[in-house]
C-alpha cells in the first residue's frame, strides 16, 4: 500500500523524473523516502558516558522520530519510531554517503564548531541556542538526504533512521573506508586531465566561487552584527542618564523617566534580532558546505577521467609493445631491446611466452579501460543530473533565505520605529 502510494505519486509528476538529465523539477515531495515516512529531529538531550579513551564526557544526543507518511493521511495516530543519535554518528553517515556515492552532491551537516562568530555569540557547543540550531540543521540534513532521489534508498540510511543497534558495525562492514584512502590521495595530488570536459571545469570554478562568496558574506555579516550590537547597547546608557536626570526635574521628570525605560528596552531588543539572524547565517553555512560537496563531485569526475586516460594510455602502450615484439621492429625503447642488442636475440620460445603474457595483460587492460569508461560514464551522467538538481534547489533555497533576511530586517525596523515612537511620546510629555 505504502509503496504503491509512493509510486503513484511519483508517476503523477512523471515524464520529468524518468531520465536523469531532465530531472530538473523533481521536488522534494516526489522522492521516495520522504513520501513513505515523516522524519524529524524532535529533541536534544545531554548524556554522559565514557568515550573511546575511557574518559568521562558529556555530549548531546538528538532524537530522530520517523513515522509512515500515510498514517497521518489515513488519520491513524501512530507513535513514531525513535532513535537517539549523536553528532559524530551523523558525521559517520555523511562520510559513508560521500564515499559510496561520489557522483552526488551530498547535503551538508550543521557546523561542527561555531564559526563566523560575532563576539557575543557563544561558541560553546553546549549552549542551548547552539544546540537548538544544530537540531534544526540535523533535521534539514535528514530531510535533504531522504528527498534525494539517489541517496534516499540507501540501506545504511534507513538503518540509521530506524534502528539504534549495530548501526556503526553495519557502516564499517560496507568497507567504505577503503575508498577513503584513495580519495584522500587523489584529492591531494595534482594531475592533469588531457581532455577535460568544459562543463565540469566551469562547475568546479563555480563551486570555488560559491565557497569564497558565502564565507566572505558570513564574515562580513558577523562583523556587521558586532557593530549593530554595540550601537544598540550604547543607547542603554541613555536609559540610565535619563533616569538620573529625571530625579532633579519637576516638570520634565516623568517624561524623562519613561523615555529612559524605552531606551533600556531598545538596547535589550538587539539580542533577539541577532539570534534570528543566526538562522540566516546557518542557511548560508549550509551552502558553504554544499559548495565544498559540489567541488568534491567535480574533482571526483576529474579523477575518474584521469584514471580513464591513464588506463587507456596503458592499454595503448601495451599494444605497442606487443606489436613490436610480434614484428620485431623496435620503435620504442625497452630494456629487452637493449639486452637483445647486447646479448643477442632471445629464443623463439621465450618470445612466444612473452607474447602470450602480453596478450593476457592487454586483455586485462581492455577490461580495465572498459570498466573505467563505464565508471566515468556513470559518474558523468549521475553527477551532472545531480548538479542540475542541486542548482535548482540552491536557487530556491537561497532566494528564500534572502527573503527571510529581508523579513528580519523589516522586523528590526518596525521594532525600532515602535520604540522611538514611544520614546518620542515620553519626550512629548516633558
Amino acid at each position: 500500500m505504502m509503496a504503491e502510494n509512493g509510486k503513484d505519486e511519483a508517476a503523477a509528476s512523471d515524464g520529468e523524473s524518468a531520465d536523469g538529465s531532465a530531472s530538473l523539477t523533481v521536488e522534494r515531495r516526489d522522492s521516495n523516502l520522504l513520501r513513505r515516512m515523516e522524519i524529524c529531529v524532535a529533541e536534544a538531550e545531554k548524556r554522559s558516558g565514557k568515550n573511546a579513551i575511557s574518559m568521562q564526557e558529556t555530549f548531546t544526543v538528538y532524537l530522530i522520530e520517523t513515522r509512515p507518511a500515510d498514517a497521518a493521511a489515513e488519520g491513524r495516530v501512530q507513535p513514531p519510531e525513535s532513535v537517539w543519535r549523536r553528532y559524530s554518528e551523523f558525521e559517520l553517515l555523511r562520510a559513508y554517503l560521500i564515499l559510496t556515492y561520489p557522483f552526488y552532491v551530498v547535503p551538508p551537516l550543521p557546523e561542527k564548531r561555531a564559526e563566523f562568530v560575532w563576539h557575543k555569540l557563544s561558541a560553546d557547543n553546549m549552549d542551548p541556542d547552539f544546540v537548538e540550531r544544530r537540531r534544526i540543521g540535523l533535521e534539514n540534513f535528514l530531510l535533504h538526504v531522504a528527498s534525494h532521489p539517489g541517496l534516499s534508498n540507501d540501506k545504511i540510511l534507513s538503518h540509521f533512521l530506524t534502528e539504534e543497534n549495530c548501526w556503526k558495525e553495519a557502516v564499517y562492514e560496507t568497507g567504505f573506508q577503503d575508498k577513503a584512502d584513495s580519495r584522500m590521495r587523489a584529492f591531494g595530488a595534482t594531475f592533469r586531465v588531457r581532455s577535460p570536459q568544459k562543463c565540469f571545469i566551469d562547475m568546479k570554478q563555480y563551486s570555488e566561487e560559491l565557497q569564497c562568496h558565502t564565507s566572505q558574506l558570513l564574515r562580513a555579516r558577523a562583523r556587521v552584527a558586532d557593530r549593530v550590537y554595540a550601537v544598540y547597547k550604547v543607547h542603554g546608557n541613555y536609559g540610565r542618564v535619563f533616569s538620573e536626570w529625571s530625579g532633579v526635574e519637576k516638570v520634565m521628570g516623568d517624561g524623562l523617566q519613561s523615555a529612559g525605560h524605552h531606551m533600556d528596552s531598545y538596547a535589550a531588543s538587539i539580542e533577539e534580532i541577532l539570534e534570528e539572524e543566526e538562522h540566516y547565517a546557518d542557511q548560508l553555512k549550509e551552502y558553504l558546505c554544499y559548495a565544498e560537496a559540489l567541488r568534491a563531485v567535480c574533482r571526483k569526475h576529474e579523477l575518474t577521467q584521469f584514471e580513464l586516460e591513464t588506463a587507456s594510455q596503458d592499454l595503448i602502450s601495451k599494444k605497442q609493445q606487443r606489436d613490436e615484439l610480434a614484428t620485431g621492429m623496435v620503435r620504442t625503447f625497452s630494456f629487452k631491446g637493449v639486452t637483445n642488442k647486447l646479448f643477442g636475440q632471445e629464443a623463439p620460445e621465450q618470445r612466444e611466452a612473452r607474447l602470450s603474457m602480453l596478450d593476457e595483460l592487454i586483455a586485462d587492460a581492455e577490461d580495465s579501460v572498459r570498466a573505467k569508461a563505464a565508471e566515468c560514464e556513470e559518474h558523468v551522467q549521475k553527477a551532472w543530473a545531480d548538479i542540475l538538481r542541486f542548482k535548482e534547489e540552491k536557487d530556491k533555497d537561497l532566494r528564500e533565505a534572502l527573503l527571510n533576511y529581508a523579513a528580519i530586517q523589516i522586523n528590526m525596523c518596525k521594532k525600532g520605529i515602535q520604540v522611538w515612537s514611544n520614546t518620542r511620546e515620553s519626550f512629548q510629555k516633558m
Binding site: E27, A220, V224, W245, M252
Partner: protein, 446 residues
C-alpha cells in the same frame, strides 16, 4: 491677562538700568495671544514653544518696596508649571531678529565670515522699523561682553565656542558655519526676547549701527567672554538662602548629566560610523556574489541595494545628530556655566551687603549713627539681584524645558525617519523577490 504695548518706558539710553521698573513689578495680568512670526532655529512650528518672555514694562511701580516684590515672586514660585505657562504662551512681541546668510570675506589680513542680522521692530527706541546689517562673530562676542558688563545681575545667553579646539574642523566648512549661525541666531533671539536685555543700548547699537565701534578691551577678554569684574572683593558669604542653594545643586547635577549625554551621543556616533563602514563592505560582498550567479543575480543585487540604502539613511542620521543635537547640548553646558557664574555673583552681592551691614551695626552700637546710605544701597542691589536672578531662573527653566523637549523629540524623529527609510527599502525588495517566487511557482505547475 492682557499686555499693553510698552508705554512710557524711558529710552534705555537715558536712565540707568536699575531705575527702569522691573517687569515683575507689574500686576499679574494674563497674556493675550499674539502672532509669533519668528521661527526658532529648530524650525519649531508650535507657537507656544518660543523663547517667549514677558514683554511688559508698563507699570511704573517703584522698585523700592522690596517686600512687596518678594511676595510677588513667592506667588510665582509656587508652581513651575504655572510659570511655564506664564512665559510660554504667546504674547505680543515687538522686536524680531534673525541671523542668516553667511558670507565669506577675504582680505589681505584675514579671512572671516559675516552674517546678516535683520531686525524688525515697532519700538520707539529704534529710529527705523527695519534694519539689516552684517556682523561677524567678533561683534557678537563684543555684544555679549557689553551685556555682561552692563547687566551684571542678569543671565546672558551663551555664544557658541569662539575657538575650535578640535583642530581638525574646518572653520569655513558649510556644516561648521551652519551650526555656528544657528547658535548665533539663538543667542540673539534669546537676548531680544529678554524683557530687560532687549532694551540694552548695546544691543540697539549692535542691531543698527553701520560700523560697530568696538571698545579697546576686546582682545583681553577670555574665551568665554566672561568679564572678570567682581561686584566686591573679600566678603565671605554666611548663608545662602535655600532657594539659591537649590539652584546651585540643580545646576551641578544638570551640567553633569549634560556632560554624560554628550559623551553618550559621541560614543553612539563613533559606533555608528564603524557600523557604517562594515555595512558598506557587507553590501559589496553581496554585489560581487551576484556577479557569479544567474538566477540569484537580481535578488543578490537587490539585497546589496537595500543595504546601500540603509547606509545612506544611517549617514543622514549621524550627520543630523552631529550637526543639530550635539551643538545644542553643548550650548546648554555653556548656559549652565553662565548661570553658575551669575549665582556666584549674587553670592558676592549678598556677602558684600552682609559684610557692610555687620560693620554698620557694630558702629551703630558704638556711636548711634544712622544706617549709612551705602548699606541701604547694597541691600537694594542685593535684593534687585535676587529678583532678577529668580526671574531669569524661571525664564531659563522654561526655555530649557522647551529647548530640550524640542531637541529630544528631534532626536526621536530622526531615528524614526532612519528606520522608516530602511523599512521601505526592504519591503520593496520583498515584493520583488516574492514576485519572482510566484512566477516560478506558476511556471513549475505548467
Amino acid at each position: 491677562m492682557s499686555v499693553g504695548t510698552p508705554r512710557g518706558l524711558a529710552s534705555s539710553g537715558q536712565k540707568p538700568i536699575t531705575e527702569i521698573p522691573h517687569p515683575l513689578s507689574a500686576a499679574e495680568e494674563s497674556l493675550s495671544p499674539g502672532p509669533d512670526v519668528s521661527i526658532s532655529p529648530g524650525g519649531d512650528k508650535d507657537p507656544e514653544l518660543t523663547n517667549g518672555t514677558l514683554v511688559d514694562g508698563s507699570s511704573p511701580a517703584s522698585a523700592s518696596s522690596t517686600s512687596a516684590l518678594l511676595s510677588r515672586l513667592q506667588v510665582e514660585e509656587n508652581s513651575e508649571a504655572d510659570a511655564a505657562e506664564l512665559y510660554a504662551s504667546t504674547e505680543t512681541r515687538d522686536l524680531f531678529v534673525t541671523v542668516d546668510d553667511p558670507k565669506k570675506h577675504v582680505s589681505t589680513m584675514e579671512t572671516y565670515i559675516t552674517y546678516r542680522v535683520s531686525t524688525k521692530t515697532t519700538r520707539i527706541e529704534f529710529d527705523l522699523p527695519e534694519y539689516c546689517v552684517r556682523r561677524r562673530y567678533q561683534d557678537f562676542d563684543w555684544l555679549r561682553v557689553k551685556l555682561e558688563e552692563t547687566q551684571p545681575t542678569n543671565l546672558i545667553p551663551p555664544l557658541p565656542e569662539k575657538f575650535v579646539m578640535k583642530g581638525v574642523v574646518d572653520r569655513f566648512s558649510e556644516e561648521f558655519v551652519e551650526t555656528r549661525m544657528k547658535a548665533l541666531d539663538k543667542f540673539l533671539k534669546r537676548v531680544a526676547d529678554h524683557p530687560v536685555l532687549s532694551f540694552n543700548p548695546h544691543l540697539n547699537a549692535f542691531l543698527t549701527a553701520k560700523d560697530l565701534n568696538k571698545r579697546q578691551g576686546l582682545a583681553l577678554l577670555t574665551k568665554m567672554g566672561e568679564s572678570v569684574k567682581h561686584v566686591a572683593g573679600g566678603y565671605k558669604l554666611r548663608a545662602r538662602p535655600p532657594e539659591f542653594n537649590a539652584m546651585g545643586e540643580y545646576l551641578d547635577t544638570f551640567s553633569q548629566k549634560l556632560g554624560t549625554i554628550d559623551r553618550i551621543a559621541q560614543r553612539i556616533l563613533r559606533e555608528q560610523s564603524e557600523y557604517l563602514t562594515e555595512l558598506r563592505e557587507y553590501a559589496s560582498v553581496y554585489s560581487s556574489w551576484a556577479g557569479s550567479e544567474d538566477e540569484l543575480q537580481r535578488p543578490l543585487e537587490g539585497v546589496a541595494g537595500c543595504v546601500t540604502t540603509c547606509c545612506g539613511a544611517l549617514e543622514d542620521l549621524s550627520e543630523n545628530m552631529s550637526q543639530d543635537f550635539l551643538p545644542v547640548l553643548r550650548e546648554y553646558v555653556l548656559y549652565t556655566e553662565t548661570m553658575k557664574n551669575v549665582l556666584r555673583k549674587r553670592d558676592q552681592s549678598q556677602a558684600e551687603y552682609e559684610g557692610r551691614l555687620e560693620a554698620a551695626v557694630l558702629r551703630r552700637q558704638e556711636d548711634r549713627t544712622p544706617m549709612p546710605l551705602e548699606v541701604e544701597k547694597c541691600q537694594d542691589k542685593m535684593e534687585c539681584f535676587n529678583a532678577d536672578l529668580k526671574a531669569d531662573w524661571e525664564r531659563w527653566q522654561c526655555n530649557k524645558r522647551q529647548d530640550f523637549k524640542q531637541l529630544l523629540i528631534g532626536m526621536a524623529d530622526k531615528n524614526i525617519n532612519y528606520y522608516e527609510k530602511c523599512q521601505t527599502a526592504w519591503e520593496s525588495l520583498v515584493t520583488v523577490l516574492q514576485e519572482k517566487q510566484t512566477e516560478d511557482k506558476t511556471s513549475e505547475t505548467n
